[in-house]
C-alpha cells in the first residue's frame, strides 16, 4: 500500500552535524568560537554543506 514514489526513497543519510558556530543576537549573525563571522568562511560553509540545496529540507521544502 506504499505510494509509488516512496519505492525510490532512501534513508535520510547522516544525522545533523553540530555546527561549529553559535548565533550572536547582538550581531544577528552566527560566529565561530574564535569570534569570526561564520558566513565569511566560505571554505567552512562548503565543508559543512549548510548552504546546500538539501540543507533545511527537513523543516522547509524550499531547496
Amino acid at each position: 500500500m506504499q505510494p509509488f514514489a516512496l519505492d525510490y526513497a532512501r534513508p535520510a543519510g547522516e544525522t545533523e552535524i553540530a555546527a561549529p558556530y553559535v548565533y550572536d543576537a547582538g550581531l544577528q549573525l552566527n560566529v565561530l568560537l574564535d569570534g569570526r563571522v561564520a558566513a565569511r568562511d566560505h571554505a567552512l560553509l562548503r565543508e559543512l554543506g549548510t548552504t546546500t540545496s538539501t540543507a533545511g529540507s527537513k523543516t522547509h521544502f524550499d531547496d
Binding site: 532512501r10 534513508p11 543576537a25 538539501t54 524550499d62
Partner: protein, 327 residues
C-alpha cells in the same frame, strides 16, 4: 528604515546577506517567529484611521511603519518555542504577526500569498508553459493505467515528489529517480505520482533571480556519468558549479514567470539538453543560494541585500503624524 528578516538562528545563508546589510549601514532586525512570546514580542494598536505596530527582538525595537522590506527566509513555526506551545497559540501568533505585517507598506521577498501559491509544482509547470519555458512531458496521476500509457509514450521517465517534501516518519529522502522500463505502476493508486520525461542532460542549471537580476550557474554532467543518477542534489560529481550566461529565451521566460507569480526571488532549476535547450524543472521561491555563491563567486547575497535595502515606499504625512503609503 529597517529590513526585517524572518528566519531561524542557525540560518547561516541568511548571514551572508546580513553581513552585506551591515556593511552598507542598513538597519536590520532579524527574528524567528518561533520565539514569539519568549524573546520576540509584538504590539499593534488600531486607532482612529491609524495603525501603529511594533516588534521587539533581541533588544531591538522596530515600528512596522518603519520597515522598508521583509525577507521571509526560513522562519520557524510561530510560537513553537513558547513556554507552553500549542497549535492554538501557533495560529494566534501567526495571525497576529503576519496579519500586522501585511498592513505594513514594506516590500516583501516574497509575499506570503505569492509564496504559498508558488510552492505548488503543478501550478509552476503550467505557469512555466505560459511563460514560454520548455517543460518536459509530465503526468501527475493516481491512475495506474494512465501511468502505464504515459510510460508507453515516454519510455524513459523519472519520478519525483509532487510537493518536494521528504517523509519524516522515519526520515527519508526522495530524490528525483529514474524509473526502470519494467516498473510496475500499480502503486500509483496509493498516492499522487509525478512522472516526467527524463531529459538527457549535459548540465544542470541553477538560476537565481533577484528582482530583475538573473544569476545563473551551470554544473556540467561528467562524461560517462551514470544516467540513473538524475538528481544533482544527491549525485557525487567532480564538476563544480560555474557562472553561466542566460539564453535570451530563458531570461524572457524567467522574468515573465516572476511577474506572473508575483515573486521578488526565485531559484529556478533547469536541465540543459544536448541542443543547449534549458528545460524547466521547478522554481523554489525560497531556494538555497549559498552553495552557488560559495562555488561560483556570483554576488547573490549582495544582490539580495541591495534589493532589500532599496528605499521603502514613499510616504505621505497624515495630519496626526502617522505615515500613509503613497500608491
Amino acid at each position: 528604515m529597517t529590513v526585517l528578516i524572518l528566519t531561524c538562528a542557525e540560518d547561516v545563508t541568511a548571514d551572508m546577506v546580513v553581513v552585506r546589510l551591515h556593511e552598507s549601514g542598513v538597519p536590520v532586525v532579524r527574528l524567528d517567529p518561533a520565539d514569539l512570546t519568549d524573546s520576540v514580542a509584538l504590539s499593534g494598536e488600531f486607532g482612529h484611521s491609524s495603525f501603529h505596530g511594533r516588534l521587539w527582538a533581541g533588544g531591538r525595537l522596530v515600528s512596522l511603519g518603519g520597515l522598508r522590506s521583509v525577507w521571509v527566509r526560513r522562519p520557524g513555526v510561530p510560537a513553537a518555542r513558547a513556554a507552553q506551545p500549542s497549535a492554538w497559540l501557533t495560529e494566534e501568533s501567526g495571525q497576529a504577526l503576519y496579519g500586522m505585517l501585511r498592513g505594513s507598506p514594506a516590500r516583501w521577498m516574497n509575499h506570503p500569498d505569492a509564496a504559498r501559491r508558488a510552492r505548488y509544482k503543478p501550478w509552476q509547470l503550467r505557469l512555466a508553459q505560459d511563460c514560454g519555458l520548455p517543460v518536459p512531458a509530465t503526468l501527475i496521476t493516481t491512475v495506474p493505467g494512465a501511468a502505464r500509457e504515459f510510460a508507453r509514450r515516454h519510455p524513459d521517465l523519472v519520478v519525483k515528489p509532487v510537493s518536494g517534501t521528504h517523509p519524516q516518519d522515519p526520515p527519508r529522502a526522495v530524490p528525483t529517480s529514474r524509473v526502470p522500463p519494467e516498473a510496475d505502476f500499480s502503486a500509483v493508486a496509493y498516492g499522487p505520482t509525478l512522472l516526467q520525461r527524463r531529459v538527457a542532460k549535459r548540465a544542470d542549471i541553477r538560476l537565481t533571480a533577484v528582482g530583475g537580476r538573473l544569476l545563473a550557474a551551470r554544473k556540467a554532467t561528467p562524461a560517462g556519468a551514470d544516467p540513473d543518477q538524475v538528481d544533482v542534489r544527491f549525485a557525487e560529481s567532480p564538476e563544480p558549479w560555474r557562472p553561466a550566461g542566460v539564453p535570451a529565451r530563458a531570461a524572457a521566460g524567467v522574468r515573465a514567470y516572476l511577474r506572473g507569480a508575483g515573486l521578488a526571488y526565485g531559484a529556478f532549476d533547469f536541465a540543459e539538453d544536448g541542443d543547449g535547450t534549458w528545460w524547466f524543472l521547478e522554481c523554489n521561491q525560497s531556494g538555497q543560494f549559498g552553495f552557488v555563491e560559495v562555488d561560483t563567486g556570483l554576488p547573490i547575497a549582495r544582490t539580495i541585500a541591495e534589493w532589500l535595502a532599496r528605499p521603502g515606499p514613499e510616504r505621505a504625512e497624515r495630519p496626526d503624524g502617522t505615515g500613509a503609503a503613497v500608491p
